[in-house]
Amino acid sequence: MKTKPMTRKATRHISQNEGLIFEKSSPGKAAWKLPPLDVPEVDTAKLLGKQERKDLGYMPEVSEIEIIRHFTRLSTWNYAIDLGMFPLGSCTMKYNPRVNEFVARLEGLANGHPYQPEKISQGALQIMKTLSDCLLEITGMDAITLQPAAGAHGELTGMLLVRAYHQSKGNARKKILIPDSAHGTNPATAATVGYAVENLKSNERGMVDVAALAAQMTEDVAALMVTNPNTLGVFEQEIHKIAELMHAKGGLLYMDGANMNALVAKTRPGDFGVDVMHMNLHKTFSTPHGGGGPGSGPVAVKKILEPFLPTPVVITKPDGALGFEYNRPQSVGRVRAFYGNFGMFIRALAYIFANGPDGLRQTTEDAVLNANYIRKGLEGVYDLPYSTPSMHEVVFSDKIQATKGVKTVDLAKRLIDYGFHPYTMAFPLIVHGALMIEPTESEPKEELDLFIEAMKSIAEEVEEDPQFVLDSPHNARISRLDDTLAARKPVLRWKPENVG
């Protein structure tokens, strides 16, 4: 390997090897201990007959210290927000406050059973009510459900509401309009509720083409699903006109709230004409991504959609106590058992409390400031396909580097060597070879400077030695993995014969 200047952000360090847990297993080792049984032993064979299970197959047998080491070693192979900037565009990888984790684990909240009587559930209900009120104020909407388990689940709920609304008017309509810049969950969701998807082309500024929309908007269209700011990080400046166009033909405006981190305390979707939207508590409201979940995707609506919200909803009873209301004849029904990802409600509310109105505003301003600082720092070094002002994220392309045969994926892999998680690559689809960068408010200036320095250095490497970048990462635990092999001959579980 050639000598390259080491980065200021990261350096190599020893990392422990660790096999699969099954490879450590040996009969007789145990990490568990049950208390003595205080009721008579039972004869399982007699009780269960042919339903008795006799063998648990290849389940591991290991001790507690091995478990601690196993998962601790694995953890060190991950990158994380706690280690540094995680510039994934549209994912809003912000700091996950530790007080959130602490309060979510308080005895009465962590051990609350979903079916315990309402009389002894007032604490949980109060949390749901307070969070609902805060989210309604933040979005400018009228009513809300916290039930959806994630963003895409919120979209599904939102589309069900759209359908129920139109059905109540006698015609469910046929189509959902979706801009070509949209996240993949939008068309997938529309299809899941039985709508046809019609693509809406973006204009040369990366925004919804309002003239095209006017032409495509008919009484067959149930709704437009728009992300605002969109996936280019661009605020849809004519959003109110879009809303008017939709409403004029009886359609609804759905907003994907994935990018709410650009808007909180600065503007409210309810004020600019949105009828229904979801939020991602795991993005905007700091609940941890946890390696891919759990999320939480509350859906907020205007008054006209309230009757259709999933059951149950939280209500205040005449005596002032909180409770669940199940009797809602126009409801779309349940989208999940129980009440949603309650643990995430606690965390999101703790985040809102820690911020207050001033903190929420400063957060949004810093998020947008950070993205624009990166944009300024990298403009010219990387191609900026849309010069439209950026909000909380900026999208470059690999156009300049591609002339040397280096693509966005290669730049991303090289960024790992510099101690940064890659940006979102190859998305949105309307930018060929996209580098989608969202720093969030959580980055100090020093970290942003290191990132800009790393990206500039990589651009220089592409000029001098493109092959070196193509072969990256060089400093990761492993080199590039063979995705094709993984998909062609899927090995999705361990078996003794495929050891090594």
Binding site: L106, Y115, A124, I127, A152, G184, Y339, L360, G377, N498
Partner: protein, 463 residues
Amino acid sequence: MRYLPKSPADRAAMLQAIGIRSVDELFSPIPAKFRLTRDLAVPRQMAESEIVDWFKQRAKENGEGYTSFLGAGAYFHHRPVVIDALVQRGEFLTSYTPYQAEFAQGTLQAIFEFQTMISELTGMDLANASMYDGSTGAAEAVMMACRITGRHSAVVARSLHPEYREVLNTYATHQAIPVKTVSFTDSGQISLKELEEAVGEDTACVLMQSPNFFGTIEDVEAIAEIAHKRGALLIVSIAEAVSLGVVEPPRAADIVAMEAQSFGVPLGFGGPYCGVLATKEKFVRQMPGRLAGQTVDKNGKRGFVLTLATREQHIRREKATSNICTNQALVALMVNIFMTVYGKVGLRELAKQNLAKAVYAAGQFGKHAKVLFAGAPRFNEFVVQTSEDPYAINSRLLGHKIVGGLPLKKFYPELKNAALWCCTELTTRSVIDKAIDTAVGLVAESERSAPSMKETEEHEVAR
């Protein structure tokens, strides 16, 4: 604001570098009339100590210090403390979906181990990385069965969790999947006779639960035979994962839609939990959700990646197998650690304790009241029918800081004064005895002063 890492001087320097005077300029794309010029009406910024206090108050108002006999899809088991010690490591807690495999091997290997253990426990060939929960997982499994069979209707057991059925109805309505419901017999098991009649040439799948909502273990093989003979798939939902330690897994099923909350996930007032789908190898390409697979790097070293992504929404968009994106990774990690702690022997011993406690409690109840569905094997839940309204019994128990079984009237009016009771390894004999004394020991007395309609209504409200 204590989470924001910038001084006023930093902000000024950055504005200068960008070439603007005020951060407001960055918000100029928002039309002026939609810019918020006031403070949001949310609570003022709070100190950490205030936040902790506020939530401690809420925790106190939330059943803190009560002993509960509730199960019904959410179970109170001991959570080994290593779980929270490990899942709170920042590298797990604050990482993202492992799309960048070289920088996320920890999460990927953990998912691979999770998939392996779930496959072993369910008796299936393979499992995915998780779904939102048991209810949505079951609904997704039905849609998966429709894709596999090319058929468009489903048959569902009435002994499947009522809220799972509600969720399925929500999903199925807009997919134009008619759903037929099959009732249960006096043993609490699916009526095979009704099932025979319900499954037809257009049936994509039979969806059932075992142990079912009443805690009764179903005869999966007999049901599978009926489904398969007509070309339908069998989906088995498992809500109480601990049962797998001692109950034969549904090997005859085509898809297992499991809720793994019992494996180390806090009750948390209903979520987040951990759904997971497991299936036969031949159906993998129709399975929704993320999958980790083993591969090698350029130097031949073993590594793991997310694979078969061509099923997923970010590639296939409206043609994807599901719209699911975020799943329950961190909760799946809790489940993973739990399974590793108990392992091959511990899980069986744990399940046996659950079984023994339920057998004892059901036996004690049987002395005073009717324990329904006696004709079939059970795991850790059982249904008790009383002459007194279970809401009234529960009101009395609450006074002793005991939460009684779940009254079933709301879900199964035909079962009248029945309640679903659950015991786990954490339910002590003394609590069982005390609960029974309080619940049925006083029946005679309370029957003498039979509750008025008004009181009954109040108990309903208390639910």
